[in-house]
Amino acid sequence: MKAFEYATAHSTDSARQLVADKGAYIAGGNDLLGLLKEYLVEANILVNIKSLPGMNKIEHARSHWTIGALVTVAQIENDADIKKHFPGLREAAADVASQQIRNVATVGGNLAQHSRCWYFRHRDTQCLKKNGDLCFARNGENRYHSLFTGNTCISPVVSSLATIFAALDATAIVLREGKEIRLSMAEFYQRAWENPLSHNSLGQGDLIVRVEIPTARPRSAFMQVSDKHAFDWALVSCAAAAEVVDGKLKSPRVALGSISNVPHQVETANQFLDGKVLDDATATHAADLILKDAKPLEHNGYKVPMAHALIRRTLLKLKGDA
């Protein structure tokens, strides 16, 4: 870790000013310090945004809930209202890393975290994501990489919260050059798909301020499979959300993590599920649709059946008692 200056910002304006061209915001710091320690990110100043007002609250409105970017993952995990209204969000939060990390990790940081590709994270491999001219993973050790591989960098998004937020059709509100812009989860990660140097669509100085979740989908679920039982990255994660009216799905959405640079969503599958009664056949057909265009690599074909099973199981969890 290189030496850096440090400042605490008390307003978003001053945070933006302080971070300038070569600084980085620090909230929980889990990802940032890891990147700095490996010299993968070099910042001349760290701007502490934990004192920014109003960003650490969970607020309820009828049409949507607002989760401040500084709300910790542990807060979400332990919030009784979230458990009741967005059970999938609670499940996703509980599966994030370990207690020590959840206690400091913020919603903003979870969404903005960089790729976990082990070539990117390695201090001595100069991959595409680090301005190198080669993706080592494409023909190398790609067991943890994407199934949707029609672009250049094949390191998948690993944010569990992004997966469930996508299923809940949540919007990230980002402060860019003094103005708020609203990004769906697809938009939030779109640039990672397009540009190998990007991990998400944030630019230098952009600040996530909050996430808005529509209340339209009272049923939600999240599941992941890892090599280990806990404190391990998902090999595949899946989130689903919907309203269930008279046993039928209304506005269902399914999203998967760890298989694409973006939370993987297939509109035709969501449309297919709309108005359906959930059963094995429906869930299976939805899974088929969602994974139809998967293009596995040499070592990650296993993610296809794994994702298929997770989609079916996560969808069936939406049935609940009804």
């Binding site: 082990w118 001595d124 080592f136 494409r138 050790e141 039982h229 806990a230 090999l235 040499e298 296993y302």
Partner: protein, 697 residues
């Protein structure tokens, strides 16, 4: 011949660890906690490439970094780098930050070679780049050991199976990394080392720096695990010494976790092509195996830990009339292996026990029956019968893949042994008995977490009829009488008879000096008081007849495998183990648990991943080199066979041997197909089930 008391108060009971309080309060000072007067922080610069010729290393800019007090190159002149992470230089400074900054400005002039090989099967090819210029990576005519007439015997077999079983390179990863604080002055060298062999570290420093042994003192009050990797002074120790000499200050140089994954040892991989055949009654008749594995650039590691070579015992525990075994180590551009908890045995157990189960399935025979038919060891015969009954084997073992549902259950068993593990006959120790009745034992051994201090206290308390808490134990100092390195399960059988001897000598001398016939127990203080002003110091040594070797063990595993996600969950492990006379049951349980859990990591999670293209270790961390966590650990049930008549035997190694094989067999039993390589990840389970589609990208 001396013998252990028949009736015991502390031996074979459970005494809490005598240094437990120091460890739970943070008072215990580990080697990495040492803050010697004026100490400096040390760090190592490592090669960024798997193969290179270093022509010069310029340290000027590093020395100019504020706070840096010394910088040294690992070797004078030009030198060759043969693996990613090999040491190049080191710096010492007043802070970690100064060292980090200094490492980045060291100028290395290197001719980087693009010819290298990190993959075992590639390295065996004739046209493969050579790790060592003057010799092929693998012997062209590997040694073949043949007994009987193998080919003829296979023709007589009622059933024959073939399999290609492989195991990954496993890294020791003790929680405390390797390293030392070294102070080297004109008076000599003092090192606080994180080691499992203070004597071998002393000898290593003395040899590398051309010092008299008497000028080197090694201290290890507390250290954070070793598992076979921590016997030598190591490159990091020698660099710390040179930095200390140059900076004229003590230097603490502990490896980073990254360093730990590259250059300080590992368990070699194995690729075992096994053909096994049996007569109709299950008697093994023919065994034909070819095994290769890599020990990196070569087996080694300095010090007394043994080589940790790639060869494994085949056909492991079993006597097969006709055997042919061909083995070879293959060099790759990766860090050298070292001894690792029961070297050779876990991979040997995995290969052979998997083959046995595959054969049992083919023959329609119960796997336990097949083992009872072929295992020549009477203790394991008992252990199998006892374990099978307690585990409920008969009810639980079903036809492979036959359990209902998506999540399938399966059971498996396997055996292990640690044929070595006897005592170091040169073990010595002393006790100082003070007139106030306090007593201090001093042994030049170290506690790597197995409970050495507690064993000494328990044995002494038993023989002297005192309480363990009354015994002060000091270990981990080469100024004390010499003891063995803590490896190969030798510590307990070395020190227990030694303490026994010290105690009996103390009682004899106390009798002489105090006139009290029996100074034990309630007479202790009276007898000690009669010593007058001078303490009594008695010296003792290891005695024959109180210890033995060759511990066995069999384990049973029960797993659940999700056939849609490939996820394996171990539900239960039962370990049936013997280690002669149990000294302290509580710490023994801990060691067996630990062996099982480490074996579980080997079975399901652990693998050093090398990148063919760049030659780097891709997972030099705990994020993708995965260790079992508390959520992964199943219910563990231990059955201990106490055999006091055998004397004391170590348990560290045998407990870890059969676990991976038992789990692998349970997985095969659950899903009905074999996963042929460790670790058994969800990816491999799904592939074995034929569910993973091929690449289309």
């Amino acid at each position: 011949m001396p013998s252990w008391p028949a009736e015991t108060k502390y031996i074979s009971q459970s005494t809490p660890r005598v240094d437990g309080e120091a460890k739970v309060t943070g008072r215990a000072r580990y080697s990495s906690d040492i803050q010697a007067e004026g100490w400096l922080y040390g760090m190592i610069l490592r090669a960024k490439w798997p193969s290179a010729k270093i022509s010069s290393v310029n340290l000027d800019k590093a020395l100019a970094v504020p706070g840096i007090k010394a910088a040294v190159v690992v070797r004078d002149g030009a030198f060759t780098i043969r693996y990613y992470g090999e040491e190049i230089a080191a710096v010492a400074g007043t802070s970690k930050q100064a060292c980090l900054d200094a490492l980045r400005v060291i100028e290395v002039t290197a001719d980087v070679h693009h010819e290298f090989v990190v993959n075992e099967s590639e390295a065996r090819k004739e046209n493969s780049p050579r790790v060592w210029e003057n010799s092929p990576n693998a012997p062209t005519n590997p040694h073949v050991r043949e007994n009987g007439k193998v080919d003829d015997a296979f023709a007589e077999c009622a059933a024959v199976i073939e399999g290609f079983y492989s195991t990954a390179v496993q890294i020791h990863h003790p929680m405390e990394t390797m390293g030392n604080t070294v102070s080297w002055t004109d008076d000599g060298l003092k090192a606080w080392s994180s080691t499992q062999g203070i004597s071998s570290v002393r000898d290593g420093f003395a040899g590398a720096l051309k010092l008299d042994h008497s000028k080197v003192r090694v201290i290890t009050d507390y250290m954070g695990g070793g598992f076979g990797a921590k016997f030598g002074a190591g490159a990091e120790g020698v660099l710390a010494a040179k930095l200390s000499q140059a900076a004229k200050a003590p230097v603490r140089l502990m490896l980073t976790r990254f360093d730990q994954a590259l250059a300080v040892g590992n368990r070699p991989s194995s690729f075992q092509k096994i053909k096994l055949g049996a007569k109709a009654d299950g008697t093994l008749l023919a065994f034909d195996a070819e095994n290769y594995g890599t020990a990196g650039i070569g087996a080694g590691g300095d010090g007394g830990g043994g080589g940790g070579g790639a060869d494994i015992p085949m056909p492991y525990l079993y006597k097969v009339a006709n055997t042919r075994v061909k083995q070879s180590a293959v060099a790759v551009n990766a860090g050298a292996s070292r001894a690792f908890r029961a070297p050779g045995n876990p991979p040997a157990s995995y290969g052979m026990e998997s083959a046995l189960d595959d054969l049992a399935v083919k023959m329609g025979m119960d796997p336990v029956e097949l083992r009872l038919k072929n295992d020549p060891n009477p203790i394991r015969q008992r252990e199998y019968k006892l374990g099978a009954e307690k585990f409920g084997w008969q009810a639980k073992y079903k036809k492979p893949g036959s359990s209902a549902g998506v999540v399938k259950t399966g059971v498996g068993c396997a055996a292990g042994a640690w044929p070595a593990g006897g005592a170091s006959r040169n073990t010595q120790g002393e006790a100082q008995i003070n007139p106030d009745g306090s007593i201090e034992f001093r042994l030049g051994v170290q506690d790597i977490g197995t409970g050495t201090r507690t064993v000494i206290a328990v044995v002494a308390a038993e023989i002297l009829q005192l309480k363990p808490a009354q015994i002060t134990v000091r270990v981990g100092d080469t100024n004390f009488p010499p003891g063995p390195g803590s490896g190969g399960s030798t510590t307990c059988p070395s020190i227990s008879p030694t303490v026994f001897d010290i105690c009996n000598k103390a009682l004899e001398q106390l009798q002489t000096q105090s006139g009290i016939a029996d100074a034990r127990g309630e007479n202790w203080f009276t007898a000690c008081k009669k010593l007058g002003v001078n303490p009594l110091v008695v010296h003792g040594q290891w005695q024959q007849g109180l210890s033995a070797d060759h511990a066995c063990g069999v384990q049973f595993a029960e797993v659940e495998v999700d056939t849609e996600t490939g996820f394996v969950s171990v539900k239960k492990i039962m370990g049936v183990h013997d280690c002669g006379l149990i000294v302290n049951q509580l710490t023994l349980e801990s060691q067996i648990n630990g062996g099982i859990i480490m074996g579980m990591g080997y079975a399901l999670y652990e693998e050093r991943v090398m990148d063919d293209l760049s030659g780097v270790v891709l997972n030099p961390n705990f994020e993708t080199y995965k260790l079992p966590g508390i959520g992964d650990v199943p219910e563990i049930e231990i059955v201990l066979i106490n055999m006091p008549e055998r004397g004391v035997i170590g348990i560290g190694e045998p407990a870890t041997v059969p676990t991976a094989a038992a789990i692998a067999n349970a997985v095969a039993n659950a899903i009905g197909v074999r996963v042929f390589s460790l670790p058994i990840t969800p990816a491999k389970v799904l592939a074995a089930l034929g569910k993973a589609p091929p690449a289309t990208a």
